[in-house]
């Protein structure tokens, strides 16, 4: 049986790990390679690096950071940030990534997902879907897709976008609740449920997870993996202790 993955996320800006609230007020959290190494030792199942300023700066995630993290870890590494073409995806793999995540560019040119998926396989094409509770009617799922690190509202319904993205080839959805990001108030379970209903690929829950109870609830709502950042960076939970607790709560995790 597949275990529920616990994934620390490194939001990287200018070569340093940062973390904010609702994608803003970013504060320094340390060196990406040092944190990645620590998390693997604690029992992390995968590392995600998101270069949060890449798209805004019109560039690809920094190869140097990816290479340094790659050298430190022997678990999967998913990288996102500024991917606009299939060649960009190949360049990230060459730099040390195992899987590539796309967000803004996939909304602007959905065929990018098809291209990544047909070349590198669906398991390599991760859709990073940032969603917020919709301010008005017209969104059947109640959630709207955001791009550009949360600054742009797209008018797309989150569940409809998830469905069409997986039809095009996305093999996983890294689902971040903009409203919950950095708030430690728990994952947005309604959002997870809405996307679970729409797609059959794995879902990584992100945004607001602060303790094992939140994670158990996310799994019950349909998540296959749980991602968190600040609780690990700031030492509230080691991944080992978190997994002990998850196991007690009946969640299958790798020990």
């Amino acid at each position: 049986m597949l275990n529920v993955r616990v994934i620390p996320c490194l939001d990287v800006k200018d070569g340093r790990v940062v973390k904010g609230i609702r994608f803003a007020n970013l504060a320094d959290q340390g060196d990406p390679a040092a944190l990645a190494r620590r998390y693997e030792r604690q029992g992390a199942d995968e590392i995600v690096i998101l270069d949060v300023s890449a798209t805004a700066d019109g560039r690809l995630a920094r190869f140097e950071t990816i290479g340094r993290v790659r050298d430190e870890i022997s678990i999967p590494l998913t990288v996102g940030g500024g991917v606009r073409t299939v060649e960009d995806g190949g360049a990230l793999l060459q730099a040390g990534a195992d899987r590539v995540s796309v967000n803004t560019a996939a909304v602007e040119q959905p065929e990018l997902l098809a291209g990544l998926s047909s070349r590198f396989g669906a398991q390599c094409a991760v859709l990073a879907l940032d969603a917020a509770r919709a301010p008005s009617n017209g969104f059947p799922s109640g959630f709207e897709v955001l791009t550009h690190s949360g600054r742009n509202r797209t008018g797309l319904d989150a569940a409809e976008w998830a469905r069409s993205a997986t039809e095009m080839g996305a093999g996983e959805i890294l689902l971040t609740s903009f409203d919950r990001d950095g708030t430690r108030s728990g994952y947005d379970l309604a959002l997870i449920g809405a996307i679970r209903e729409a797609v059959s690929v794995p879902i990584v829950a992100s945004g607001g997870g602060a303790h094992p109870g939140h994670m158990r609830a996310a799994v019950d709502a349909g998540a296959d993996a749980v991602l968190a950042a600040s609780i690990f960076h700031q030492g509230d939970w080691s991944i080992g202790r978190l997994k002990d607790r998850l196991q007690q709560l009946g969640v299958a995790v790798r020990r």
């Binding site: 999967p76 793999l93 040390g96 070349r119």
Partner: protein
């Protein structure tokens, strides 16, 4: 255990399938004290003591690259003479006859079998850490929890090979081995300590296993 040391220091060559996480594979071998080299010719494939055929990509693109480079025969010869060769994920499937992922495109055909789509209760792709069972007769493969990222599977361990299996909605082949050849549906380079230990067993033991099998030393010497 002198025989097990034959391979120590031997060159690890990686076949650039054009669709692989090469750097992850390289860094895994660097952590084991090796200096892996990306291979560049059929002669390289013939001569390297260890050859790794990695892959995270699609079957069609992987085979197209091997054919374009003219590397199919060199790979087939290695596997048929059971010399130290490691197929990872797509690399395992490329050793087979064919895959439903790419109808009409033949694989290397070193082992009989056709990859079919994962189906049943498990999510596709299978992404994450899953337990595998391995028979005690296996030299390299052992039971443990390892990392998978696949949408296709082999249903039966090929005849004549020793195989490990797992379950993801349905039973699938997690790996198989014979002589110095090891094929893994999972990613040993991404499977933490368990994966590193497996790669190390292969490095230490594959040459002895291969020579114990039926390595054609004379032909190999002539080629290199």
């Amino acid at each position: 255990m002198n025989a097990a040391r034959i391979g120590t220091g031997g060159e690890v060559g990686i076949v650039p399938t054009g669709v692989a996480n090469l750097e992850a594979v390289r860094s895994a071998f660097r952590r084991l004290g090796r200096t892996p080299r990306v291979l560049n010719s059929a002669a390289d494939i013939e001569c390297a003591e260890y050859v790794v055929l990695p892959g995270v990509g699609s079957f069609a693109d992987g085979m197209a690259e091997l054919r374009r480079r003219g590397w199919e025969d060199a790979l087939r010869r290695r596997v048929e003479s059971l010399r130290p060769t490691l197929g990872i994920c797509l690399g395992l499937q490329l050793l087979c006859d064919a895959s439903d992922e790419a109808p009409g495109i033949p694989g290397l055909g070193c082992v009989s079998g056709r990859a079919v789509r994962l189906n049943g209760a498990g999510r596709v792709p299978q992404l994450g850490w899953n337990g595998i069972a391995a028979p005690t007769a296996a030299v390299f493969l052992r039971p443990g929890i390892v990392y998978f990222a696949n949408s296709y599977r082999l249903e039966e361990v090929p005849a004549g090979w020793t195989g490990a299996t797992g379950r993801h909605g349905t039973r699938f082949v997690a790996g198989f081995e014979r002589g110095g050849v090891l094929a893994c549906q999972f990613h040993p380079e991404l499977s933490g300590r368990i994966g590193a230990a497996l790669l190390n067993r292969w490095l230490e033991g594959a040459p002895a296993e291969a020579s114990g099998a039926m390595m054609d030393r004379a032909r190999m010497a002539a080629a290199c």
